[in-house]
């Protein structure tokens, strides 16, 4: 009996460890929930939420090309050369432009080099809201990575949303490797 209990406990412990390893391994390299401090205390909640600014005012590349882009510092100053100029955070922007030294934002959504992603394709052609992948950005004081951005996540969405391609475009976003990997 003791032996049996011992074996059972050992089995449970082992399978527990196994499960833990699997769970950990699946999230290996995933940065979901990553919300690093940024050099300037910028609030998406303030700008996108309360002020209801259009995402693409700053991330203007999103419907044009591959990158949505971090906005050029001068773009911040379009407003902030007049608005809240005394805030020490805003002064960092002016200082950067004056000194010519870039602000080193911490990259949150990191996409590996061997995969190709195109914002315009999703924003412009498919007409998705940014929130679909980036989560409720308008509620985020500090921006965080909302989804896992791993391959399974991409594929499941592409499977679930059998986007009907325009009549003349015979290929939908399909499961071919070389759609993203080249």
């Amino acid at each position: 009996m003791k032996k049996f209990v011992g074996a059972l406990v050992a089995l449970l412990v082992l399978s527990g460890m196994g499960a833990y390893v699997i769970v950990q391994a699946r999230s290996l390299g995933s940065n979901q929930g990553y919300a690093p401090d940024q050099p300037v205390a910028f609030s998406h909640k303030k700008h996108a939420g309360e002020l209801e600014m259009d995402c693409q005012y700053c991330h203007f590349g999103a419907d044009k090309g591959r990158h949505a882009g971090v906005p050029p510092t001068e773009l911040c100053l379009n407003c902030h050369s007049k608005v809240k100029t005394n805030s020490p955070e805003i002064r960092k922007l002016q200082n950067a432009v004056d000194s010519g030294e870039n602000i080193q934002w911490v990259k949150v959504n990191h996409f590996p080099d061997f995969a190709y992603f195109n914002h315009a394709q999703h924003v412009n052609v498919a007409g998705f809201d940014c929130q679909k992948c980036h989560g409720p950005v308008e509620e985020m004081e500090i921006y965080e990575q909302h989804e896992s951005l791993n391959m399974g996540w991409c594929i499941s969405c592409h499977r679930d949303n059998q986007i009907a391609p325009p009549e003349d475009h015979k290929s939908a976003a399909g499961g071919d490797c070389a759609k993203c990997h080249y």
């Binding site: 044009k64 001068e74 870039n102």
Partner: protein
């Protein structure tokens, strides 16, 4: 038809071990198939690491690091990455979106693709009426030269770095105060605005302007002056020529505007779309042009003279006693020419005024001027003049105050370098304005860097009726300055050259249109000159037809490297020569007959005595070389150059000479002797042997006219075990026209640039590990002394039943739904099974993490393509990034994807339009029409791998 199918018995499984002579062969050594000679695809010593890892200590270091790093990988968080936005964004820059700017490279109007402000790719400008969207390998490779880290970065006075202001003031003071002659030496210039600045400079300092080119066409210009009254070049219209006769002129590559010539020539080489032209070539060493001829004859330079005079006698009233061995050639040429009055073209490549005058006479007699050739004079060009340069060297003395060399390097590439150097020592100040330090800047007191073309403004006459703009596509990378602005600054003029140039184009609309289109056509740019009368007898008697029984050295210009300007470009160095397939260096090209007599093999190091000089380099036995001629390429043997060119090959320029007022490239007698040592040739040729199968199919024009299927009648019996897959949607396919492909290799370099293909270096090429996704197989047929040649682009065939796919243990290579064979780098574990199973041998393995150069040089990489690391297999992806981009753009514009909107890099760069790519499911596409053609075939059809790349039978007009 040639006997192409006599190797039927050599089917797919036969090893061809019996020593049967092949119909096609690749080099002299494997002409007879001997298994011992054929080299293995993956040779012995594959696992031997690169030189840096050769000792035990470095091996242990690397192993130690790998072992200790392994457990760490499990607990490391993804490192913090920074995102740096622009502070001030340029208005037209959107990150991730390419911008295209019209510009010019040498005589080619081009478009430069920039990403985030960095030029990364060059394509021909389709609006040009000269090159019609073509660009050669040099233009493709030129972006690499822009980033070259060996470029000069600051002005120097007496070898000390100084600021620009200091340089300007010191040199200006010298120019103003020192008495004596000022000489400005530039390359040939055909820019209106640059010439205007030079004229101002010449006026201010009483400077003499001399144009100098080491590979000169001075004699042709001189001949045109005699026959047409204008010191200028000729323009050829190959599209109108039914018969083309060339005596040693490599007009498809290095003689004149090779791209413009290829465009016109290839329009008449596709038997389906036009009446095929007939091309006869007589030459002493095999050139790219000669390899495309319908009739090619190997003859020494003296024999070429004999033939030239024979032809003149045949069509005019002069007399000439042709040598017996040349009589047949003359007969053929004369009979062809007389059938095509006013629709023929005769060219000679030699830089000899007598020869060129006789050629002009022949063309006049045939009524070709105004139809296939035009001589136009213009004030917008300053062409090289060998005579002027000779007298400049002779006149160098204490009386000369200043010599300014602009982007020229005569201390390296003038034949009498010693005399020039001694003369320059007497001069008060030598100035060198140069891209990077070289032999000439080394002896100059004042040295200043100039801008690369892609950092400059200019307006170039690319043909006599077309101007092409050069506009900067990037800020000067290394603090350099346009040479014209340096000249302006020395005149005390601090305005910009851009303002000056723009002001000469009055009316803002025409300027904006010029800037946008890149080209501007106007007949008023030049004046047509008509033939004048002159006494031909004087020129005939100066032509030497005496054959020499001695070996003669013939200097030639190598495709790509050109006069040596491209020596520092690794893409060009690694581009296999279209004929010899050798990379990285020059060599003595000897005939098979001579090699046999002297038991010399390719790779033997020979010692040559030329005049009083002795040089040593490797021999290459080249079919189609005259038995008394030894070929040697110019442009190598640099002593002061960047990291790529320095010390590579031997310098052939000292063996030039001058006679009849122009430089001569083929007059030295040479004695060769074996040294018993062997060297590296780094050829890409022998390890792509096709084992005697009917890879290439061909027919003559006559046969084709009777039966369009001629030469392409063999059909394999195929059957399928499995039902065929459904093939809906886009189905990509490619067709390659072997009749128009000239083998120019522009596609190879274009592919390099587009797909981030690494350069592996001479040693690794010799280990057969070059990485080119697209190669040009070159096959010989027939007699060794004068074989027929086929050029065949070979790339991943994107098989529907791909043998590589089912041997991959990790599913890293598989078929896409639109018919591409995909290679997934992040899955690949590097077993190389796929490469072993590929019947076309087109897969490339990354044996190492190849050097991508300095941080600046890495700016040339295409950001849409991953750079592959060690242990990964790669191969042609059919430019998947371009396909994706084409599809995405069409969707974004809400328009159907038009046929032709997607072009692969190789297709785009092809100056003879030999490559066609498109959707074969679209019945109206160009590719569908090609696939329905009788000439269409696939390589190794009997394997039933069903390639997506198709070839069209080669048709020869013989």
């Amino acid at each position: 038809m040639s006997d192409l199918t006599n190797n039927d018995s050599c089917g797919t499984s036969c090893g061809c071990a019996d020593s049967t002579p092949q119909t096609y062969w690749q080099d002299v050594e494997n002409k007879v198939l001997d298994p011992a000679v054929l080299k293995a695809e993956f040779p012995e010593g594959e696992y031997e690491a690169m030189s840096s890892m050769k000792n035990r200590r470095s091996f242990l270091k690397i192993m130690g690091f790998s072992v200790s790093a392994l457990p760490l990988t499990g607990c490391v968080k993804i490192p913090v990455k920074k995102a740096l936005p622009y502070l001030n964004k340029q208005p037209d820059t959107i990150p991730g979106v390419a911008n295209w700017y019209a510009s010019t490279y040498k005589d080619m109007p081009i478009l430069v693709k920039t990403r985030e402000g960095r030029p990364i790719k060059v394509e021909g400008n389709a609006l040009s009426q000269t090159t019609f969207g073509g660009a050669n390998a040099q233009a493709q490779a030129s972006v690499m030269s822009l980033y070259d880290s060996s470029r000069l970065r600051e002005p120097k006075v007496a070898s000390k770095s100084v600021e620009w202001e200091e340089f300007d003031s010191q040199l200006k003071q010298h120019l103003e105060n020192s008495e004596g002659e000022v000489v400005l030496v530039t390359p040939a210039i055909s820019s209106k605005s640059e010439l205007a600045i030079i004229e101002k400079f010449s006026k201010k300092y009483q400077a003499k302007h001399i144009a100098y080119e080491p590979v000169s066409k001075s004699a042709l210009y001189q001949a045109n002056k005699i026959t047409h009254g204008a010191y200028t070049g000729a323009e050829y219209n190959f599209e109108n020529a039914d018969v083309v006769v060339s005596l040693g002129a490599d007009f498809l590559s290095t003689f004149g505007n090779g791209v413009a010539n290829t465009k016109g020539y290839s329009k008449r080489r596709d038997a389906k779309t036009a009446k095929m032209s007939k091309h006869i070539q007589v030459e002493e060493v095999m050139s790219l042009t000669g390899s495309n001829a319908d009739h090619r004859f190997t003859r020494s330079v003296a024999d070429q003279h004999d033939i030239l005079l024979g032809v003149l006698a045949g069509i005019s009233s002069t007399t000439h006693n042709t040598k017996a061995e040349n009589k047949d050639i003359v007969k053929i040429i004369v009979s062809e020419l007389s059938k095509a009055n006013g629709r023929s073209l005769v060219l000679a490549g030699e830089n000899d005024v007598n020869v060129q005058v006789v050629v002009n006479k022949i063309n006049t007699e045939l009524g070709n001027y105004g139809r296939t050739i035009s001589v136009r004079s213009t004030s917008f060009e300053k062409l090289e003049n060998d005579n002027e340069f000779e007298s400049f060297v002779n006149d160098l003395s204490e009386k000369t105050s200043t010599v300014i060399f602009v982007n020229t390097n005569p201390v390296y590439n003038y034949y009498n370098s010693e005399k020039l150097t001694a003369g320059l020592k007497k001069v008060k100040a030598v100035v060198s304005l140069t891209l990077s330090e070289n032999e000439t800047s080394n002896i100059a007191h004042y040295v200043a860097p100039i801008n690369h073309t892609y950092e400059s403004w200019s307006d170039t006459l690319v043909s006599k009726s077309e101007l092409s703009i050069t506009q900067p596509t990037i800020q000067p990378l290394y603090g350099t300055r346009m040479y014209v602005e340096t000249l302006m600054s020395l005149m005390g003029d601090n305005t910009s050259f851009y303002d000056f140039m723009k002001s000469t184009y009055t009316g803002s609309t025409s300027w904006n249109k010029f800037l946008h289109d890149g080209v501007m056509q106007s007949a008023s740019l030049s004046r047509v000159e008509s033939p004048r009368s002159f006494n031909i007898a004087n020129y005939i008697k100066n032509i030497d037809t005496k054959s020499s029984s001695n070996l003669t050295l013939s200097l030639y210009v190598k495709d790509g490297i050109g006069n040596g300007d491209f020596g520092d470009n690794p893409w060009i160095q690694e581009m296999p020569n279209p004929i010899t397939k050798a990379t990285w260096g020059n060599y003595f090209m000897v005939s098979p007959v001579w090699a046999k007599e002297n038991s010399v093999k390719s790779g033997d190091i020979l010692e040559a005595k030329i005049g009083g000089t002795t040089i040593k380099t490797v021999a290459l036995v080249q079919p189609g070389t005259d038995k008394n001629t030894v070929g040697l390429a110019v442009g190598y043997g640099r002593t002061i150059a960047g990291k790529t060119a320095k010390g590579l090959g031997v310098n052939a320029y000292p063996f030039m000479s001058a006679s009849n007022g122009s430089f001569t490239y083929n007059s030295s007698t040479i004695e060769l002797k074996k040294t018993g040592k062997t060297g590296i040739l780094a050829q890409t040729q022998t390890h792509h042997s096709m084992e005697g199968r009917d890879i290439v199919r061909e027919a003559t024009y006559e046969e084709y006219m009777q039966n369009p299927k001629a030469g392409n009648t063999k059909k394999a019996k195929l059957f399928h075990i499995y039902p065929e897959h459904k093939k809906d949607g886009h189905q990509w396919a490619m067709a390659i026209n072997l009749s128009t492909c000239t083998g120019c290799s522009s596609c190879i370099v274009s592919c390099n640039a587009e797909n981030n293909i690494p350069v592996v270096g001479k040693e690794e090429v010799n280990n057969r590990r070059e990485m080119h996704w697209l190669r040009l197989d070159r096959y010989y047929k027939g007699d060794e002394s004068n074989p027929e040649v086929v050029h065949m682009p070979m790339l991943c065939q994107h098989c529907d039943n791909a043998p590589c796919e089912n041997v991959c243990p990790v599913m890293a290579t598989l078929q896409s739904s639109d018919g591409l064979n995909q290679q997934v780098y992040n899955r690949c574990v590097g077993t190389r099974y796929c490469a072993n199973n590929c019947p076309y041998k087109v897969r490339r393995f990354n044996w190492f993490n190849y050097d991508r150069g300095s941080e600046t040089e890495r700016m040339v990489l295409n950001p849409d393509i991953s750079t592959r690391t060690r242990g990964i297999m790669e191969k042609c992806s059919m430019c998947i990034q371009r396909i994706q981009d084409g599809k995405l753009s069409a969707k974004r514009d809400r328009k159907p994807l038009k046929d032709g909107a997607i072009q692969t890099a190789c297709q785009q760069s092809c100056p003879s339009d030999a490559i066609i790519f498109g959707d074969k499911n679209d019945p109206n596409s160009k590719i569908s029409k090609y696939l329905a053609e009788e000439r269409k075939y696939v390589v190794l059809e009997d394997l039933n791998v069903q390639p997506r790349v198709n070839y069209l039978t080669k048709i020869r007009n013989k």
